[in-house]
Subunit: 198 residues, 2 copies
Amino acid sequence: MIRVVLADDEDLIRGALAALLELESDITVVAQVSDGDAAVAAVAEFAPDIAVLDLEMPRRDGVAAARAIGAGTAVVIVTRHARPGVLRRALAAGVRGFVPKTTPAARLASILRDVHGGGRYVDSEIAASALTADSCPLTGRELEVLRLTRGGGSVQDVAQEVHLAHGTVRNYLSSAMTKLGVTSRHDAARKAWEEGWI
Amino acid sequence: MIRVVLADDEDLIRGALAALLELESDITVVAQVSDGDAAVAAVAEFAPDIAVLDLEMPRRDGVAAARAIGAGTAVVIVTRHARPGVLRRALAAGVRGFVPKTTPAARLASILRDVHGGGRYVDSEIAASALTADSCPLTGRELEVLRLTRGGGSVQDVAQEVHLAHGTVRNYLSSAMTKLGVTSRHDAARKAWEEGWI
DNA sequence: ACGGGGAGCTGACATTTGTCACGGCGGACC
DNA sequence: GGTCCGCCGTGACAAATGTCAGCTCCCCGT
């Protein structure tokens, strides 16, 4: 019997996934929680075989929770935002399975069985785009100002933070925007984040 | 037996919801589709008692699909973005149930039974905020430029569209931003949309 | 040694965006 | 009629933003 802890902040979805998994005779959901911290606590308490975590959760997202859980329990991340960069971060955190929500429901159980048997599962489409994706074309400074821009601050704030002239910061941002094919620093920061570069 | 058509673009969620509903002895899912157009077609073909539609779907969103389906079949909207304005639009389209994804999974079946029995269901929390929400503080012109701004165009584009000086458009935008407590026209347009004012 | 090229850094410029003070118009109210 | 007030509309101004040409420094290949 595969014992599973299920974490998703949307009650309806979490309950539905639990119903789906309980249909399988060899899988049982031993705990349901609605945020990342609770997921870590539930894993410590119930010592399940697998933790199925939604990526987007309050207080601690799925990847951060996976890192906190460590290697003792297999973690499968479920997400709606299946971008290459997210996959990279998830794998770096030791995640054993990465399942976009576009995956057919019927396949989830077999994925959990694979993972329980020691295997890994990565959505093939995302893996392909992660592998073919161009390596990061941005320089160190460009990445740095993008990282700070993502916080929402103005150019002035960022410039003060890194002790540079505002013109310099604008220049890095401009260069990054050109490389990424967007027209605003916010778009650039979001895109770089999605690609996993910052 | 309550016959249901289920529409959601995320296979995993749709399948999980189907599993959840099939657990009920008096409910059966007669068709599953993944976009709004297919939902309309499936309702025409299967003549179900209830259509359960996700709000966010490609090609035609849940509310638009509900309008196309008409009054012959009861429609229940399920959504992650449970804002007052969305609720208003949904009710205006003749929707019989409005269920945010934060609803406990166990309650979905009883909601469907209520709706099948001729009742309506509206999440009480959203209904409350929709009723207590301040009425729209924006003027006609402000709403108009916000509507056009939402398309993503620049101030120049909007000004040309409404045959006004760009200064005038900026003024309306500025006024709207002040009233809404935000600092960019994009935020203002998004907020007004969420409130259901445009 | 030396030349080329990339990264870091800067200021000057044009454009875009947001704010302000102002005037005209029309309805509500006395 | 007269006044007040809100909405409509405009242009001037300031700040933020994006683009450009150019500078230095350092690494790398010859």
